[in-house]
């Protein structure tokens, strides 16, 4: 595992410049974004705002029409494998093989990211234990609840100790206890220096976890900053993130 992250020295975790993507209509338009190591960034926006498309382009799953993306100094477009080696992407639908057990799934993911077997075995045990999946490690995922599947996927995302995590609605289907557990795990990752970008419709999660919040609408960034900055940009003196979000997106539309 050391081999993956060794040499990752950059003062920015993510740099996005002039990102554009259209599918007949413009979905992401001239987007600039910078995230620092250890930062928890929440990307919010109404349905169709371009959040998932942005995340997919950063993850190297979709080529932008224009613009550049760098993750810890690695160009996602020029060196996709190098960039992917330090990233993990969790979409809203769990990326899981139903016919594999959690341990087998982690074996597969660890192999894809070339994690040294001894390290992977220890890390898998630790993650499965933490996420409460250890008793189910030999059961096939087909019988799992959505929350258990989501936790298995999270374990897969963390097994290679990524420096940059892209999370698309990661708390969907989790019960309160699991949700708290996942939040703590993610916070611990940022404390270790990893950066996280998260999209969610649960604004309380963003308000509680994120160090910075970006609000996207029509593919463009409407506002960015911590909650106080966003309030100021919205011209509100008090209120929750929900008030700010609704105010800003309503003004835009």
């Amino acid at each position: 595992m050391d081999g993956v992250h060794s040499g990752v020295i950059s003062d920015t975790a993510l740099t996005v410049r002039g990102l554009c993507k259209s599918f007949g209509r413009k979905v992401v338009e001239n987007l600039d974004l910078t995230i620092r190591p250890g930062e928890f960034y929440a990307l919010l926006g109404p349905n169709g705002a371009g959040k998932t498309t942005t995340l997919r382009m950063i993850a190297g799953l979709m080529r932008p029409d224009a613009g550049g993306i760098e993750v810890f100094g690695r160009d996602v477009l020029a060196d996709p494998l190098g960039a992917k080696s330090i990233m993990a992407w969790i979409p809203d639908e769990p990326l899981l093989y139903d016919k594999l057990s959690p341990l087998e799934y982690l074996e597969f993911i660890a192999g894809l990211w070339r994690v040294e077997p001894g390290t992977a075995r220890a890390r898998a045990g630790e993650l499965l234990e933490t996420l409460g999946l250890w008793p189910h490690r030999h059961e096939r995922c087909e019988g799992f609840s959505r929350g258990m599947k989501q936790k298995t996927v999270l374990a897969g995302a963390l097994i290679h100790e990524p420096k940059f995590l892209l999370l698309d609605e990661p708390l969907t289907g989790l019960d309160a206890a699991s949700s708290r557990l996942v939040k703590e795990l993610l916070r611990a990752e940022t404390e270790k220096g990893a950066a996280i970008i998260l999209t969610t419709h649960i604004l309380e999660v963003a308000e509680r976890l994120a160090t910075r919040i970006g609000i996207l609408s029509g593919g463009a960034l409407l506002a960015e900053g911590d909650l106080d900055t966003l309030k100021a940009q919205a011209g509100l003196t008090h209120g929750s993130l929900e008030d700010v979000f609704l105010h800003l997106t309503a003004v835009c539309s």
């Binding site: 494998l81 080696s85 093989y97 192999g111 898998a124 096939r140």
Partner: protein, 478 residues
């Protein structure tokens, strides 16, 4: 005041769902065009056949026996299909709970589902039998049209029996195992029909004649055992009685299942948790290729239909062997075994690669990983080839032991057919109804046709190499 949707509305919905879920419609958008073309061709052939039937009347007892054999075989074929369809409508489609939660009376939902299964299993046979019935009617033999009501009556009875059987099985075994039981029954039936059809070639003529004579109906028309056969041949009372009997059977099963269905007992039995302990190696690998290969081999081993599909593909060799040793006078033994093994290797290779294509439900996971795009494809190809060689290892070793001189030709044929079919399967996987249980399948019928053709070509090429006089059957007198 709210009025629940009526029976016809619900049946229309059910038939639409069944039609759109059929393998033909799933794999081809404009399937109706080739279906119509085939139907016209079949009707042409059936007209010629009907003309012969009309011109050469057969004694009634013989006709009754032929009709009864059809009824019995059809029952077996319909039953296996009805079992898998019943599993689908109770469990696979996943909308039973949704409809049970709607204001539609549950017994109506059940009746429509059972009727939908009856329609879906009757339709192909009504189409096939119908063309002959139409042809007979054209030549004045109007009894031929009885094929429509009689096949539907039989389907009603079969659907009811299959539904009841599946409900009982679901109490003890999983939906997958129940589905496997249906497939196995279909395999046994198919091979049974073929072997019985081939019996005259291996059993002395007088023994066969004696056997059929013992089955002929007596002067009373065979009684209840020949009721459906007499209905099929157009006897009005038997036709009415068969329809009434089938409807009664259907209603009885429906009556007894309606309550447990309404209570959710049946769907609950089908959807109990299916997580099972898996054999675990705990073998972490630092190579993406090795990790992908291990994953692919596991997915292959856990594909729901893997056992029956391998048996089925192996059994396709039975008719080919009969043809080779019969029509082409290929002597039994190693000479005949070589093309058969090549054919089997091709079919298995295509099947395995198609399973892996269907199992790859999360391609985006690999896309997000730092691996070369071709790594998963290579791993899938190697997994398919490895699995094929594993299965054909026994016959390969037999050839090696008994006729080592054939091995180079055999190896060449296997390598060629596997390379061709694995490449083909990666681009055009064959349709697999349950690539992922309960989910939409992938694949195309074109891939299936091409795959069989490729296997045949390689098999034929190998046969040309190993057979001492491959074109002897073209010589007059042979």
């Amino acid at each position: 005041m709210f009025t629940a949707p009526g029976f016809p509305w619900l049946l229309r919905h059910e038939l639409r769902v069944l039609w759109r879920g059929s393998i033909l419609v799933r794999t081809h958008r404009h399937v109706i065009v080739p279906v119509l073309v085939v139907a016209v061709l079949f009707q042409g052939v059936a007209l010629a056949l009907a003309r012969q039937v009309a011109a050469h009347p057969v004694a009634l007892p013989t006709m009754l026996l032929a009709a009864n054999i059809n009824i019995v075989f059809l029952f077996a074929l319909m039953f296996s299909r009805a079992m898998t369809s019943s599993i689908d409508v109770i469990y696979g489609r996943g909308d039973a709970d949704f409809l049970l939660a709607s204001p539609i009376p549950p017994d109506r939902v059940l009746a429509v589902r059972m009727l939908g299964v009856a329609c879906s299993i009757a339709a192909p046979w009504m189409l096939l039998g119908g063309v002959l019935g139409n042809g007979l009617a054209v030549y004045g033999q109007y009894w031929g049209l009885c094929v429509y009501p009689m096949f539907f009556a039989e389907a009603l009875l079969v659907a009811a029996a299959a539904f009841a059987f599946v409900v009982v099985l679901l109490r003890f075994i999983s939906p997958q195992a129940t589905r496997r039981a249906g497939h196995t029954l279909a395999l046994i039936t198919g091979v049974g029909i073929f072997v019985i059809g081939q019996a005259p070639r291996f059993v002395p003529q007088h023994v066969v004649a004696k056997f059929w004579a013992s089955l002929l109906p007596g002067p009373d028309g065979g009684g209840l055992a020949f009721l459906f056969a007499r209905g099929l041949l157009g006897e009005p009372f038997a036709l009415s009685a068969s329809l009434a009997f089938a409807l009664a059977g259907f209603c009885i099963v429906w009556f007894f299942l309606a309550k447990p269905f309404a209570d959710g007992v049946i769907t609950a039995a089908a959807s109990r948790p299916r997580g099972r302990p898996a054999a675990q190696t705990g073998q972490f690998r630092a190579s993406p290729f090795a990790a992908a290969l291990a994953k692919d081999l596991r997915l292959l081993g856990r594909f729901p239909g893997i056992f029956t599909q391998i048996i089925y593909r192996s059994l396709t060799l039975v008719p080919v062997a009969f043809i080779l040793t019969g029509k082409f006078h290929m002597e039994a033994g190693m000479g005949a075994a070589v093309p058969l093994i090549v054919f089997l290797a091709g079919q298995l290779g295509l099947f395995f690669i198609s399973v892996l294509a269907g199992c790859e439900t999360i391609p985006e996971l690999i896309a997000s990983a730092p691996v070369l795009v071709r790594t998963p494809a290579r791993a899938a190809a190697v997994a398919s080839v490895y699995s094929t060689l594993f299965i054909i290892a026994a016959p390969l070793l037999a050839v090696l032991a008994r006729a080592p001189q054939l091995l180079p030709s055999l190896a060449l044929g296997i390598a060629g057919v596997l390379l061709s079919n694995v490449l083909l399967g990666q681009r055009m996987p064959i349709p697999l109804v349950r690539a992922s249980f309960g989910k939409t399948s992938t694949g195309t019928v074109v891939g299936l046709i091409l795959g069989v053709s490729v296997s045949t070509i390689w098999s034929f090429a190998t046969w040309l190499i190993v057979a001492p006089n491959p074109l002897a059957w073209l010589t007059p007198g042979n």
